[in-house]
């Protein structure tokens, strides 16, 4: 067990909605690693399967969603042996969820119980997952609010008495209540305006530094991730199209979709750039097109794209072997030879022994 082993290792995870001929493959053989203390950004358009991937990895999906394959290995500091989340019994799952992997849900207004005071919601979480007395839980609830910068007087407030930013902070406090190792954040700041968004993101990073949890940050806003994330995974139509560090994604994007995403938001600083959106819409997953899913919207597509198999391979021009893309036309010809064997699985980062010659 080396120190570079990921906390959360998602391997070839597939999730379908429905079954049989009606099945919609929302997540298609996705592999992604999350290391301790790392911020991994998962970016994609609505319906690209990014939330389904994260919830699927925690087994939070209900029918008709069905996990059809893959594994999710979790290895926390508190765990003696790694656990495959997809194989756990309901009891084991209960003790893992929130204690080890917590989630900040997208819409704070809907995720908080409108008839419970903030204090009750916080103590509820604490007492459900930790063995503490009511008094201790109340004290902990207070210190959690301190953590996210809300005055303790607000413990008695109901959710509707709080501003949007404060509600989202309460959600973050709830996620951190049990000192989890992995926090999944599903568009935590999308409904907030920019000033508040920035404060909360700054606070999240600060807490991450202090408490050392890893973050899987889901958003459709790539500009946010470029600033926030250590690594970025670009998801499209249920598949990962590119994974790389924030710097690589920004300066050396390999996949045409990533390139288009980068050109689709206006920049406030610097010279005015030519902007172009991404015309068209994502494919209908009930009838996925053959080959590359981005082909119908891709300006660089060729006939060969319709017959490729989407799989992540290292970007030839990049010195980093873990900068991977699904577009074969930015890759060298690697149809044979020993290169195949060394191909990393998905968004994996090298372990120590792999890096050593």
């Amino acid at each position: 067990m080396s120190a570079t082993d990921p906390v959360l290792a998602i391997r070839d995870l597939s999730v379908s909605y429905g079954s049989g001929s009606q099945a919609v493959r929302a997540v298609d053989r996705v592999s992604l690693d999350l290391h301790a203390g790392e911020v991994v950004g998962l970016v994609g358009e609505s319906g690209s399967g990014k939330s389904t991937l994260a919830y699927g990895a925690c087994r939070l999906l209900r029918p008709p969603a069905l996990i059809t394959g893959g594994s999710v290995r979790y290895q926390g500091r508190r765990m003696a042996t790694p656990a495959d989340i997809l194989q756990l019994s309901p009891d084991q799952l209960m003790s893992l969820r929130w204690r080890e992997i917590a989630i900040v849900f997208q819409s704070a207004m809907n995720a908080l119980n409108p008839v419970l005071r903030v204090r009750d919601q916080l103590t509820d979480v604490i007492r459900a997952h930790l063995r503490v007395s009511a008094g201790e839980a109340a004290g902990k609830a207070g210190s959690l609010l301190d953590l996210v910068g809300i005055p303790r007087s607000r413990l008695r407030a109901y959710p509707h008495e709080l501003s949007g930013g404060m509600r989202q902070r309460v959600m973050i406090a709830m996620a951190l209540a049990t000192d989890p190792e992995v926090v999944i954040m599903d568009e935590p700041t999308t409904a907030l305006d920019v000033v508040v968004q920035r404060e909360i993101l700054g606070q999240i990073l600060e807490l991450k530094e202090r408490l050392g949890f890893a973050i899987l940050f889901i958003t459709h806003d790539l500009s946010l991730l470029l600033e926030l994330a250590d690594r970025i995974a670009v998801m499209y139509a249920g598949q990962l199209l590119e994974v790389g560090t924030a710097g690589e994604i920004q300066h050396e994007p390999a996949h045409p979709y990533t390139k288009r995403l980068l050109r689709s938001f206006p920049s406030l600083r610097g010279a005015r750039r030519d902007l172009a959106g991404i015309p068209g819409s994502p494919p209908d997953l009930r009838r996925p097109p053959p080959g590359c899913p981005f082909l119908p919207r891709c300006t660089e597509g060729t006939e060969a794209c319709a017959s490729i198999e989407v799989r992540l391979e290292p970007v030839a021009s990049s010195p980093d072997p873990w900068h991977v893309t699904a577009c074969p036309f930015v890759l060298p010809d690697r149809t044979d030879g020993p290169g195949q064997a060394r191909r990393p699985a998905g968004g994996r980062r090298p372990s120590a022994e792999e890096l050593s010659p």
Binding site: S163, G165, V194, L261, S264, F265, R269, D274, A276, G277
Partner: protein
């Protein structure tokens, strides 16, 4: 908004070539004034002795073919301004004029006539369309209401033409669909088509893209811009995304706590903001060229809105959050003061907050700031 479709209105030919094309001086590019608002105010009575001043002393003018962006945080009164201009609320103070005539909305007919000139597009495409009706209903209804007697065939043909204009093709397929069968971007296109059906001269767009995916936003703004040019619409673009205002608008008005605190040409205001609140807004926008450093250093000098508490009576509303506030700011609220012909800001401390802007108010869009 690609290079070949430069959306900015070109400077009028009689202007000297000294005006750099990247900087759009509102006074240069504007067509006729279609709508203006003078000292608009809106108060809401919360309780017997408690009044919320949602909008205070807001003046603005919308010109044919030009875009004015209204930027500010949630609760700053942006949407209230839109509702006042759309005639959905009566102002507590001030007047709205359409083509120079004060707007008097007495009665149903006058309101309907007004609506055919001034249309509103809402933020949430999921809530603004009726789930029980097809797209056809949404687009044909304003045609029948506002466009005088049209035959059934004309209505059908006009509806199809509108769908083509918002690029929902094939039109007949989309007209037959229900809102739940459409994506967010397609729904917002239907909202645009519905607004255009009345052939308005003023379009008030209240955060038209903020509910949409980032990848779709730009396309929608480009479409809106194309429609503005084609129909010479006077457009009010309400947003909290100041970066999109830079690309899309000619003039930017920054609102804080119900008042306009800064106004000026879009490029100048976004590149060299004068008011401390505008500076905060600009510094809060994600900055990919400055990876994470600002975030990690906690760059916000100004305090948080929720924790700073309300300003003392009569004080500058931004003073509790302002890093430059002094005694005068806490005593007396500043009015909007002109900095140059095109720019103005409401701040006592501009000499400290933005000395460079005072020294050189125009022409900040060189991209080096």
């Amino acid at each position: 908004m690609t290079g070949e479709h430069d959306h900015r209105p070109q400077p009028a030919p009689e202007q000297p070539p000294a005006v750099t094309p990247a900087i759009t001086h509102p006074a240069v590019v504007r067509g006729d004034c279609v709508m203006d608002a003078v000292s608009l105010g809106k108060d809401y009575r919360l309780a017997r002795h408690q009044v919320l001043h949602a909008v205070r002393d807001v003046s603005l003018s919308l010109h044919r073919g030009a875009v004015v962006a209204l930027v500010g945080e949630s609760g700053s009164g942006k949407s209230t301004v839109a509702r006042l201009l759309a005639g959905q609320e009566r102002p507590s103070a001030g007047t709205v004029r359409l083509n120079g005539q004060p707007v008097a909305l007495s009665g149903h007919r006058a309101f309907r006539r007004y609506k055919s000139e001034v249309q509103l597009v809402f933020q949430d495409p999921f809530a603004s369309l009726n789930p029980a009706h097809t797209v056809r209903y949404h687009v044909e209804r304003p045609l029948r209401l506002h466009r005088g007697p049209l035959s059934a065939a004309e209505v059908r043909q006009q509806a199809a033409a509108l769908m083509e204009q918002v690029r929902l093709t094939p039109a007949e397929d989309f007209l037959a669909k229900y809102p739940h069968e459409l994506s967010g971007g397609q729904r917002q296109r239907v909202s645009f088509a519905r607004a255009l059906a009345a052939q308005p001269s003023v379009l008030l767009a209240d955060e038209p893209v903020s509910m949409l995916d980032v990848s779709i936003r730009l396309e929608m703004l480009a479409l809106l811009d194309d429609l503005r040019k084609r129909f010479r619409l006077a457009l009010l673009y309400i947003t909290h995304d100041i970066a999109s205002a830079r690309y899309f608008a000619d003039e930017v008005l920054v609102m804080y706590a119900g008042e306009i605190v800064e106004r000026g040409p879009a490029e100048d205001v976004t590149q060299r903001p004068a008011h401390p609140y505008t500076q905060l807004l600009v510094s809060s926008a994600p900055d990919p060229d400055n990876l994470g450093t600002a975030l990690r250093n906690g760059a916000n000098r100004a305090g948080r809105p929720g924790l700073a508490g309300p300003p003392p009576d009569g004080a500058c509303p931004f003073s509790p959050r302002c890093p430059y506030a002094d005694d005068r700011c806490r005593r007396e609220a500043p009015a909007l003061q002109p900095i140059s012909a095109a720019r103005a800001a409401a701040c006592w401390r501009l000499d400290v907050a933005a000395p460079d802007v005072l020294a050189r108010p125009e022409g900040g869009g060189d991209g080096t700031t």
